[in-house]
């Protein structure tokens, strides 16, 4: 097994773990961690592809690396925004639960 395949397989595991955490955990902070694990998996696959797609004599294909940096910045901004929202939510309601009773009036017959 080549190093690239090993990294790609590990990345697949990360994607699976992250997706599971995002869907299964009710707490938003855990979901956020899941989002970051999932993101790391995606970035690792990209890294493995860069290595596999390298032209002869080059250590890696530079295009995925350039894109990867942008994607990491975007994911970082997303994480910061989620944390900020979560803090505001705790500040104003005292709880961080996402699940709520349905909005008032929902489902009432006219």
């Amino acid at each position: 097994m080549t190093v690239e395949t090993l990294i790609a397989l590990a990345a697949c595991a990360l994607v699976g773990i992250g997706l599971y955490a995002l869907i299964a955990h009710p707490h938003p902070l855990r979901k956020l961690v899941g989002f970051n694990v999932l993101g790391s998996g995606v970035f690792m696959i990209f890294g493995a592809l860069a290595r596999r797609g390298a032209a002869a004599g080059m250590p890696a294909d530079p295009v995925p690396q350039a894109l990867l940096i942008t994607a990491i910045v975007v994911a970082f901004a997303a994480t910061a925004m989620t944390v900020a929202l979560l803090l505001r939510l705790i500040e104003s309601t005292g709880s961080s639960a996402l699940a709520t009773e349905p909005p008032s009036g929902d489902g009432d017959a006219l």
Binding site: F35, G41, R52, G53, V63, T82, R88, L89, L110
Partner: protein, 496 residues
């Protein structure tokens, strides 16, 4: 090579963002003033792109820095992009005029935080949408999609109440999961074909396991962002809880961004990868959205939630075009009537739903509530607003000469010519259900009140803005006279 008018594409994207940045630095009341400077300029740029596109023979192209793909980034505007850009410019301007009542700052007054944020986010949504429409490669589209999310989420929680913060957080988590799935798909595409440029991809992509997986991942992620049934649960609280001027933007325009990306993928990037069952599945989800969303909308006691669930249903119509555009003989997605119908439906819904959310907002601020059961006498108190709501409803139901009528006509014709009669049944059942809840609201408003109705004064300008957009949605169908169909889909688009 960049074509004539290509620079306008960069302007369409940059103008709102530059306006937003200047507004952010200048602060205070400047944000609002700058928004109103950018609106006519943005409209002019959209018209300029449309005329450049009409004069040329293919899409309008701009290569950033003169570098051509796959190393460089190309901005391209084809017929569908031009149509969507014009529609978005018009709707943003209408919403901006409406928002003056809620978020306008009187002379000499200090600007509130919510107002300051609103005008900046309005521009950011506009810029992000334009980038979605003109992006020529999958990674730029990913960035555009994230920009759209970052601009849309704060709009949900402008009021800062706990309920809206929760709705915003839920929306953000859905959207982020969706974008990562999209990015994973894009990464797989790059790994398999070595390019992310849509035009090059269309020629290289093969129907095989890599492209199927990538397309499935990207589509699933985008469906979560578009709120297609059964991934719609974040939408009603988010859209119904936001201030009316923000709801109109979210419901009318923001969801079209991720939907447009699905169109790009299925029609332009990978038309040959799509299989018959996958197109049918997407259509079935759309049908589920139409029936479920309309049925729940019928049961809503509050107007804003009713309009929000109606959006859930209308998103379904946007996905009926995929099975209808499938050419079974060639085994691939083809443009034509179904594509024109889908784009027309998107534009019609953008104008009509914005108008309806604005009308609902005006009604809420006039009455202090939006319980449909207590609307008696409203038509006499707020005739313009109830008229605007009714006109928007007509466009959603699809009565002639509304844009919704033309859209459904084209979709029905596509259903007939491809022998897929079951989608025609869904189209018609959805229209009946839509008519039912629009009818309920309008008849309640027309009833004579038991006691004289006391209403708070409302801004005439806001009423006129809602009415203006509603009129546009009703008169959109007249555009069909000018052979809009041929304009939208009659020319080779991205692949050319």
């Amino acid at each position: 090579m960049s074509t004539e008018g290509g620079l306008l594409l960069a302007a369409a994207v940059l103008l709102p963002f530059v306006g937003m940045l200047i507004g952010m630095l200048a602060g205070g009341r400047m944000a609002q003033r700058i928004a109103f400077v950018v609106m006519p300029l943005g409209l002019a740029v959209a018209v300029g792109i449309a005329s450049a596109w009409l004069d040329g023979s293919g899409p309008v192209v701009y290569l950033l820095g003169g570098w051509s793909p796959p190393l460089g980034i190309a901005l391209r505007a084809d017929g569908v992009a031009v149509a969507m850009m014009l529609a978005v410019a018009g709707v943003v301007t209408g919403i901006g005029v409406f928002a003056l009542a809620d978020f306008g700052t009187p002379k000499g007054g200090a600007e509130s935080r919510a107002a300051f944020s609103y005008w900046l986010l309005l521009l950011a949504v506009w810029g992000a949408l334009n980038l979605v429409f003109v992006s020529g490669d999958l990674f730029t589209l990913y960035v555009a999609l994230e920009l759209l999310t970052f601009a849309a989420v704060p709009l949900v929680c402008l009021t800062g109440s706990g309920e809206t913060l929760r709705a915003a957080l839920r929306y953000l988590l859905f959207a982020l999961t969706g974008s990562l799935l999209y990015l994973l798909g894009a990464v797989l595409v790059f790994g398999a074909y070595g390019t992310l440029d849509i035009a090059q991809l269309a020629q290289r992509v093969q129907p095989e396991i890599a492209s199927w997986t990538a397309l499935a991942l990207m589509t699933a992620g985008l469906l979560a962002k578009t709120a297609l049934f059964p991934l719609h649960i974040w939408l009603p609280p988010a859209h119904a809880g936001a201030p009316a001027a923000a709801s109109a933007l979210l419901s009318g325009l923001v969801i079209k961004g991720s939907w447009f990306l699905v169109v790009r993928l299925w029609f332009d990037a990978m038309p040959g990868v799509v299989t018959w069952p996958s197109a049918q599945l997407l259509g079935a989800l759309g049908a589920g959205a139409i029936l479920f969303g309309n049925a729940i909308a019928l049961r809503q006691a509050r107007l804003k939630l009713l309009v929000a669930y109606s959006t859930v249903a209308q998103i379904g119509y946007l996905f009926l075009m995929f099975p209808l555009a499938f050419d079974a003989a060639a085994g691939r997605i083809a443009g034509g009537l179904a594509l024109s119908g889908g784009i027309m439906q998107a534009i019609s819904h953008a104008t009509a739903k914005s108008a309806m959310f604005m009308a609902a907002g005006t009604i809420y601020s006039a009455l202090g509530h939006d319980r449909v059961a207590d609307f008696a006498g409203l038509a006499r108190a707020l005739p313009l607003t109830v008229f605007a709501f009714g006109l928007g409803g007509i466009a959603l139901v699809g009565l002639p000469p509304a844009g919704g009528f033309v859209a459904k006509w084209w979709l029905l014709s596509a259903a007939a010519s491809s022998g897929q009669w079951w989608w025609a049944l869904v189209l018609m059942a959805g229209g009946l259900l839509t008519a039912a809840y629009v009818f309920i609201v309008v008849t309640r408003a027309l009833r004579a009140p038991g006691a004289p109705l006391v209403i708070a004064p409302v801004a005439r300008l806001s009423e006129m803005a809602a009415l203006g957009l509603a009129l546009v949605s009703v008169l959109l169908g007249l555009l069909a006279v000018f052979d809009m169909r041929g304009l939208i889909a009659g020319r080779p688009s991205m692949g050319a």
